[in-house]
Symmetry: C2
Subunit: 240 residues, 2 copies
Amino acid sequence: MGGMEVQIAVAKTNKYAVTESGDTLEVVERPNGGVSVVLADGQTSGRGAKAVSMSVVRKVITLLAEGVRDGAAARAASDSLFTEKQGKVISTLNIISIDLQTGTVVLTRNNPAPFFLARNEQVDCISSPSTEIGLSLNVRPVISEIPVEPGLTLVIYTDGLVHAGERVGRPMDVCTSLKAMLEDQDPSPQEIADTLLSEAVRLDDNRPCDDISVVVLKVRERRGDDVRRMTVRLPFLARK
Amino acid sequence: MGGMEVQIAVAKTNKYAVTESGDTLEVVERPNGGVSVVLADGQTSGRGAKAVSMSVVRKVITLLAEGVRDGAAARAASDSLFTEKQGKVISTLNIISIDLQTGTVVLTRNNPAPFFLARNEQVDCISSPSTEIGLSLNVRPVISEIPVEPGLTLVIYTDGLVHAGERVGRPMDVCTSLKAMLEDQDPSPQEIADTLLSEAVRLDDNRPCDDISVVVLKVRERRGDDVRRMTVRLPFLARK
């Protein structure tokens, strides 16, 4: 049989004492096969930010479902947000798509936060300048297209991770953490996402200063069957 | 801290020798917290079925994102499909929503296939009559609202599981399989979904007669942190 398996893991937490995360993340099927992960972070906090990021993600997944290409969907979401809010509200946007027809991962990025690309233990930080959507008309995303091959790891995140620990003078070094993980072992994407998130939360003294979402994609040799699988874990406190 | 954790697992495979699954499944955030799982199965196979089930799921998640209640979203998707196809194309539809505000699971069902509801080891098969959407105007879903409590397990699936093994005279008995699993151990939702799916595939001599999707929701006592997690596993064959 041969073949590969793409594994995507997400870890997501809220700003301390805020029940509503400003980050929205959806994983959707693409009309020609494959999946897309869409992550947006509205640049305020609480309910306002959530409404913005939900509306951005909604717009993007609707367009992707119609077969619109990722870059065009990002530009449309940007123009739409700018037209509605006149540049007063911006949002970061990342789209990761696994295109089974071309055998590539397409990363579309409107986010000053860098992303990390590892091939086995070689880690690159991709920090080419990229602006949020909604700031002006004609905001363009930075698009990277990467062949799907075993050993590939991609890490993207919202700015809660970038700013973790800054308040107390201990900023996070994502690259070093990631290298240490990849050199030590063959971690699952969920282990990578969980480790980065817990490190960020610890740097913020267990009271995150912002919503934090971490997405990790990893390509492995396929060992198992043809079954697609998904798991969601949603912790919550019982209401009295 | 206390509290609970809702875990949702999906296992999904295609009809033998058909690359495109007619089943579409999406997990989306609800605007007031919580998540919804939306599963549709268009009643033909291949690309036509996929287009139908994708359009049904898309319609439903767009309405849910606007705050429309699940039952109303299902009725709207039905009217819309009927109007477009004049009753010639139908689709099953299941929506499972975790509503964190009311602390309930709401199951909205337009699917002749039953669902299973277990409280610890007590398994009930809920098979009240329910019709597919798109058959006529005013198709109503069957709605069940269940308090979220530890030990609750819900299992829903598309008709590929119902019909598994029928061709060779060995129909599947989901209830017995589920009871055996729940009595033996405390299986994770992914283990339950995987076991049911692999049993169905085996009954079809490893060549599934139809697309099969199994969704399992389980409520557990919360042991861990506040982090939301999601994992997606997408196997595929490399193209030459």
